[in-house]
Every structure is written in structure tokens, then in C-alpha cells.
């Protein structure tokens, strides 16, 4: 009853204002065109995936495809649902000078629980309209060609969205629990991990016993969507109730180590203290593990993609270690992005330096964090596949593409990757700059067994050109971002 009261008490006007705020924030960051472009991309991608679905269905059974779709939705929800940490971010001014409706409880007689519950509903609507509706529309366009009924696609959309809501609710509960007690938070995460392990690889629980929206597709019983709705509401209510109302300002003390780190760094100029600052911020904000873990997870994604091609699409391409190496950099975009959301940096507007200096410092941190993993990953894949002779070439490709892709990302999105990357112009420029060399390298890896001379030429020249282009982008950073401010919203144009 208490849980349900939170939602009954939701303020309609606050919800509407939050939706307006989200929309205006989004428009101010990526522009009107960019805001429209994102759902369009989802629509096109969904239609494309639906059109190639019969190809996948030849090699994977329908149940596996549905399970993958629902599991992906669950993870997506879990990824975006960590609202529990927002309270701490607001109280510690991590958002710089940006003021949002979430800050209302500081001065108005409204509880943070209620505001967070409204925020949860607002975000659910946002993802529904911005992601799931275009996705379902995209699939339904392709429906006539692949022989699936429109009603079936609508049902798929509903169950996939319910999986997303459960993921978001789980993340909300875990993050809210973490804000109360690290141990409590760790326990909730541990429970989630144990349940996931019981499903796979231990096979003690069946996926449908855990992933309730997916269970609908095993027996078509309506009980599963109903239970899913109840579970997602319950999780959202539990998350809201767990949210702390007060964030005590604790005086956290640390050894003063900026000067020591600064002296040890093998770089010169104004970037040196910035790298030291970035390192301290990364470690003290507890973001080293998520950044490194996220990168390691990205590397596993590459392995998964190759598995999908081999067993999902049934395309018998012998992926060699060079192929994997080219993709390493592409997935590093997310890691670079995670480095740009730790601190507001408003105070740097008062210092004699440009935005480009901080971008360069962040690039330095990116390479410090990821280089070891990249090298280790390439060597490991080379050893597993018995392609030791390809390891030197793969290391060259991984290094060049890693540097190139992150240089393109930094050049186009600067300190605001997380938001500017959703802009239409940015995505197009990124695609035009990154996809061609990637295609050349991947074609090279495919023809490597048949014409090693041509393949090596293609791979090496694309990699070296990427490295040269990185140097040019690096030199142009200063000019490109010369008018940008360090403040939260700035597109550098």
C-alpha cells in the first residue's frame, strides 16, 4: 500500500515540467535536428535488423532470438537506470551550475522520494517514446516482408519494453541501496549477479523463470506480462522508497597528492597538472573500476559479435586476430565518454588554458587506462586462435585504430561526448570518418588467407593513414574548440 501511494501522489504538473525539461535539455545539447534524428536512427536500425532476421533465424532458433532481444532490453534498462546516485551528484554539485527540477526538494516542501518517483516515470516515458516506439515502428515496416503479424510485433514491443522497465527498476533499487550503504548496495548487486549466474552458465534456473516478459513467449500466458508490470512497478516503488532524503555532508579527507603525481608524469606543459587532476578525480570518484571494467566488457562484446556472425548469421568467415583488433578502438568511444562525465570543470574557465588542453589530458588518461587491456586482449586472442604470427600486425592495427577512433571522438565531441554524440551532424561525421578505414581493414582481414600481399597493404596503409589523421586531428583540437567554454553545455561551435 505504501509503495503504491508514491505513484498515486505523483504530481501531474511536475511530471509535465520534467518532460519539458528533458526535451529542452536534449534540444539545447544536440539541436532540434539531432533530437529528431535519434529516433529515426533507431527506426532504420530496427527495420534493417528485422529484414535480416530471417537470415539469423536460419541459424538460431526463434526462442534464442527472443531471449537475446529481451536480455538486451533488460541490460539496456539496467545501464540507464542508476538514478539512486543522482541525489549525491546534486548535493555535491557534480552538475556544475546546471539546475534541474530534481533539486526542488532542497528548497520546496516536496520529498526527494516523490521527485525521484516522478523522474523514474518521466524517464520511462522518454525511453518508450524515444527508443521503443521507433523500434517497433521500424520492425513493423519490415513485417510484411518477413511474414510476422503486426499484432505479434506489438506484443514483442510490449514484452521488450517490460524487460527494459524491470532492468531500469533493478538498477534504480541497487543504486538507491548503494546511496544508503555500500554494503547494502553491494548485496543487491551480488544477488543480481548470483541470479544471472544461476541462469547461465549453471543452468539451475531457466531464463523464463527470471526474465518474466520473455516467459510470455514460451506459453503465451497473459499472467507473465501482468506479473512483469507488477514487478516493474514494485521495483520502481522500492527504489523510490530507498532514496535518501538527506545527504549528510561528510568531510572526506585525502592525502594531498597532486604535486607528487604531477612530478611523476612523463609529460610536459599545462597538460601535466591536468592529467594529475584527472587521475585524482577518477580514483576519488570511484570511477576507475567502472571505466576499466566497461572497457573490458567492450572487448567481450567484440567476441560476442564474432559469435553472432558465425552462429547467428551463419556467415562462415574465419575471423582472425587482426579482425578483432580493428574493432577495439571503436568500442573505446564509451570509455572515453565515461571520462567526460566525472566533473563539471566550470572553474577551469578562470584559468589560462583552452578546452583542448583538458581534452588532451583526458585522452592521455584514456590511453593509460586502456593500453594494457588492448595489448593483453590482442595477444590473448592471437594465442587462443593459434595466430601468433599475426600478433605484431594486430597490435599495430589495434594501436592505430584505437588512437584514431578516440581522436575522432574527442575532436567531434570534446568534453561532452555523452550528449553531443546524439547529435545528427556528429553521428554522420563520426560514421564518415570511422567506417571507411574500418571497412578497408576488415576486407583486408577477410582476404588475408587468399592474398596476403594485398591484404597486408590494405591493413597497413589504412592503419598508418589513421595514425596520421589522428595526428592532424590532435593538432586541430585547439582551433576546433577555441570558442568553447568548460561549462556544462557547450558545443564548441
Amino acid at each position: 500500500m505504501v509503495k503504491m501511494r508514491i505513484f498515486r501522489d505523483l504530481n501531474k504538473h511536475l511530471l509535465i515540467d520534467m518532460i519539458k525539461e528533458e526535451w529542452r535539455l536534449h534540444r539545447s545539447l544536440v539541436g532540434g535536428l539531432g533530437s529528431t534524428f535519434f529516433p529515426l536512427i533507431i527506426f532504420v536500425m530496427a527495420a534493417t535488423c528485422a529484414l535480416i532476421a530471417p537470415l539469423i533465424a536460419r541459424n538460431l532458433n526463434q526462442t534464442t532470438i527472443l531471449l537475446m532481444l529481451h536480455a538486451a532490453s533488460l541490460f539496456y534498462g539496467f545501464y540507464v537506470g542508476g538514478f539512486g546516485s543522482i541525489g549525491e551528484q546534486i548535493m555535491t554539485k557534480r552538475l556544475g551550475q546546471v539546475n534541474m527540477l530534481l533539486q526542488l526538494p532542497q528548497i520546496y516542501p516536496i520529498s526527494f522520494k516523490k521527485v525521484m518517483a516522478t523522474f523514474f516515470v518521466k524517464d520511462s516515458l522518454f525511453y518508450l517514446v524515444y527508443t521503443y516506439v521507433p523500434m517497433i515502428l521500424g520492425i513493423s515496416i519490415a513485417a510484411t516482408y518477413i511474414g510476422i503479424s503486426q499484432f505479434g510485433i506489438l506484443r514483442l514491443g510490449v514484452t521488450a519494453f517490460l524487460a527494459f522497465m524491470i532492468g531500469m527498476g533493478l538498477s534504480f533499487v541497487s543504486s538507491a541501496a548503494s546511496s544508503r550503504s555500500k554494503l547494502f548496495g553491494a548485496l543487491t548487486y551480488l544477488i543480481i549477479i548470483i541470479i544471472a549466474l544461476l541462469v547461465y552458465p549453471f543452468n539451475i534456473l531457466q531464463p523464463q523463470q527470471v526474465l518474466l516478459p520473455f516467459a510470455y513467449w514460451t506459453d503465451r500466458s497473459l499472467i507473465w506480462p501482468i506479473l512483469s508490470i507488477m514487478l516493474s512497478i514494485g521495483l520502481a516503488a522500492a527504489g523510490s522508497l530507498l532514496i535518501k532524503e538527506r545527504y549528510e555532508i561528510k568531510q572526506t579527507k585525502f592525502n594531498n597528492s597532486l604535486l607528487k603525481i604531477n612530478e611523476r608524469l612523463p609529460v610536459t606543459g599545462e597538460i601535466r597538472p591536468l592529467v594529475a587532476k584527472e587521475w585524482l578525480e577518477l580514483s576519488r570518484s570511484g570511477n576507475i573500476l567502472p571505466a576499466v571494467g566497461g572497457y573490458a566488457l567492450n572487448l567481450l562484446v567484440i567476441v560476442f559479435i564474432s559469435w553472432l556472425f558465425n552462429y547467428g548469421f551463419g556467415i562462415p568467415i574465419g575471423f582472425n586476430v587482426v579482425f578483432f583488433s580493428a574493432f577495439v578502438g571503436v568500442l573505446g568511444v564509451m570509455t572515453y565518454s565515461s571520462l567526460t562525465i566525472i566533473e563539471h570543470n566550470d572553474y577551469l574557465n578562470l584559468m589560462p588554458l583552452g578546452v583542448d588542453s583538458l581534452i588532451k589530458a583526458k585522452l592521455m588518461i584514456y590511453f593509460i587506462l586502456t593500453s594494457g587491456f588492448t595489448v593483453g586482449f590482442v595477444i590473448l586472442i592471437g594465442l587462443i586462435k593459434g595466430e601468433i604470427y599475426l600478433i605484431p600486425q594486430s597490435l599495430l592495427v589495434a594501436a592505430c585504430m584505437s588512437i584514431y577512433v578516440v581522436a575522432v571522438t574527442a575532436y567531434l565531441t570534446g568534453l561532452w561526448t555523452n550528449t553531443l554524440f546524439f547529435g545528427a551532424k556528429t553521428i554522420l561525421k563520426f560514421a564518415l570518418m570511422v567506417i571507411p578505414p574500418l571497412i578497408i581493414i576488415e576486407i583486408g582481414t577477410i582476404i588475408l588467407p587468399f592474398n596476403s600481399g594485398l591484404a597486408t597493404l590494405m591493413i597497413t596503409s589504412a592503419s598508418v593513414l589513421g595514425l596520421v589523421a589522428s595526428g592532424l586531428l590532435f593538432m586541430r583540437l585547439k582551433k576546433h574548440w577555441r570558442n568553447a567554454s568548460f561549462s556544462y553545455i557547450s558545443n564548441g561551435e
Partner: protein, 246 residues
């Protein structure tokens, strides 16, 4: 710093945000060694003007030179001046001491420890030197912002509501310090609503209203009658010459 008699030279400066004109054809001069005060109602354009003067914002039209540098060279301006912004926002995850050390390192200063100790002592922040900036009180953060602006002993200081959040003891300490450095020949550009404080400190003032400079000069020159205070001068300038002063 290039040799010039004026520390700040503004000629026909205009700035708009979309259709909103924030600064309209402003001209202003601040000489070396002046304690200059800028006053205005809320939203009059004070902070925008200060941001343009310090190279944080570009101008739509007009000429602006600060400390001898054009605002097209913001890095040289920021190297030469000290800026205390309206809102205090020191680095979240650095300690109080590290925040000041970073300020020194980014300005490539020598004797970092000596400088940092001096300003931590000045604002009695030594006991908080290893506390993260996010965990400091509003007043302590404001002191850090002030210390960071003073640490390189700039010849020109821009202070936007610098006294806000400070208790009377530190307000006095800051006031005495500012007086002293102006006597030494350094220049201060102060934006404030604390007119009583400004009256004690400023040698020359300007009043900005709806993006226009409506009064400018020495306080004595702006007085319409003997004994008229800065508050009356301000209200008269904002409301118009013959407006009733409540």
C-alpha cells in the same frame, strides 16, 4: 604586459543572446590603479560584461582590451588577471590545498608550497587543507575561489560579488587586503550589490541598466547634492534623473 594607461578599454561593445540584447553599445575605461565598481539591477548585464572582459565570452561587436590584450586572446588575459566568479565552484574531487596547487601549476608559478600556505593561512583554511572541496561549506569554497584568484598576484582583479558568503571578519580582512593592493598600484574591477561596501572602496563607478551604461564617473561627480549616498545615486541612475526615490 603591454604598456598602456588603461587597464580596461571598452568601445561600443554589444552582446545579444538570441533576440535578447544584453549589452548595448557600451563604452568604458578603467585606468591602472583604480578601484572600479560596476553596479546594476538583477539581469542588467554585469556578469555578461565581466565574462567578456575576462575572455570567457565573445562579443558580437565593439573593441575590448583587458590588461593590454584583445579578448580574441583569452588565454593571455586569464594569465594576467585574477577572476572571482559569481558562483563558487572549485574542483569537486580535489582537496582545498590541491585546488590551489592546481591553480599554481596551470599558471606555471614557482614556489607553489609557499604561495599555497600563504593563502590557506590568510583565509584560515589550513585545517581544511586535506578536505575535498565538495565537502567544504559555501563560505569556505568562496575563500578558495578568492585565494585561487589572488595566488599569482595579478595586476588586475575581477571580483563578481566576492563578499557574498563571507562572514564580517573575513569581509573586513578581504576589504583591507584589496585596499592595500590598490595602494600598491594594482587595479580592481568589482561587481556588487553591497553599495555601502563599494562606497568605502571604489574610486570610480559605473551603473548599468538593461544593457546600457547609465552613469559613470567618480562618486563625488555623480552626486547631485551634498551627502548623497551611492544607493541614491544608483536608484536615480536606474530610474532616470527625475524619478522619485522611495
Amino acid at each position: 604586459m603591454p604598456k598602456t594607461l588603461s587597464c580596461i578599454e571598452v568601445t561600443q561593445l554589444s552582446k545579444s543572446f538570441g533576440k535578447i540584447v544584453v549589452l548595448n553599445n557600451i563604452s568604458l575605461n578603467v585606468a591602472k590603479g583604480e578601484f572600479f565598481g560596476l553596479f546594476g539591477s538583477n539581469g542588467a548585464g554585469k556578469t555578461t560584461l565581466l565574462k567578456i572582459l575576462t575572455g570567457q565570452l565573445s562579443a558580437d561587436s565593439g573593441e575590448v582590451r583587458t590588461a593590454g590584450y584583445s579578448i580574441s586572446d583569452p588565454i593571455s588575459i586569464k594569465r594576467s588577471v585574477g577572476i572571482v566568479p559569481e558562483a563558487e565552484s572549485p574542483p569537486t574531487f580535489l582537496t582545498a590545498r590541491e585546488a590551489l596547487e592546481l591553480s599554481c601549476l596551470l599558471r606555471d608559478l614557482k614556489n607553489v608550497n609557499e604561495r599555497v600556505d600563504r593563502w590557506l593561512d590568510f583565509f584560515d583554511l589550513q585545517v581544511k587543507s586535506d578536505v575535498l572541496c565538495r565537502d567544504l561549506s559555501k563560505g569556505q569554497r568562496q575563500k578558495l575561489m578568492l585565494a585561487s584568484a589572488f595566488i599569482h598576484e595579478p595586476s588586475l582583479l575581477f571580483l563578481d560579488e566576492a563578499f557574498i558568503n563571507l562572514d564580517p571578519i573575513y569581509q573586513r580582512r578581504l576589504r583591507e587586503y584589496l585596499k592595500k593592493i590598490v595602494e600598491e598600484g594594482r587595479t580592481i574591477f568589482l561587481c556588487t550589490h553591497l553599495l555601502e561596501m563599494a562606497e568605502k572602496l571604489c574610486s570610480r563607478v559605473a551603473v548599468i541598466n538593461k544593457g546600457n551604461i547609465v552613469a559613470q564617473g567618480a562618486i563625488d561627480e555623480l552626486r547631485s547634492k551634498e551627502g548623497e549616498g551611492l544607493e541614491e545615486i544608483f536608484i536615480r541612475a536606474v530610474n532616470g534623473e527625475n524619478a522619485h526615490i522611495p
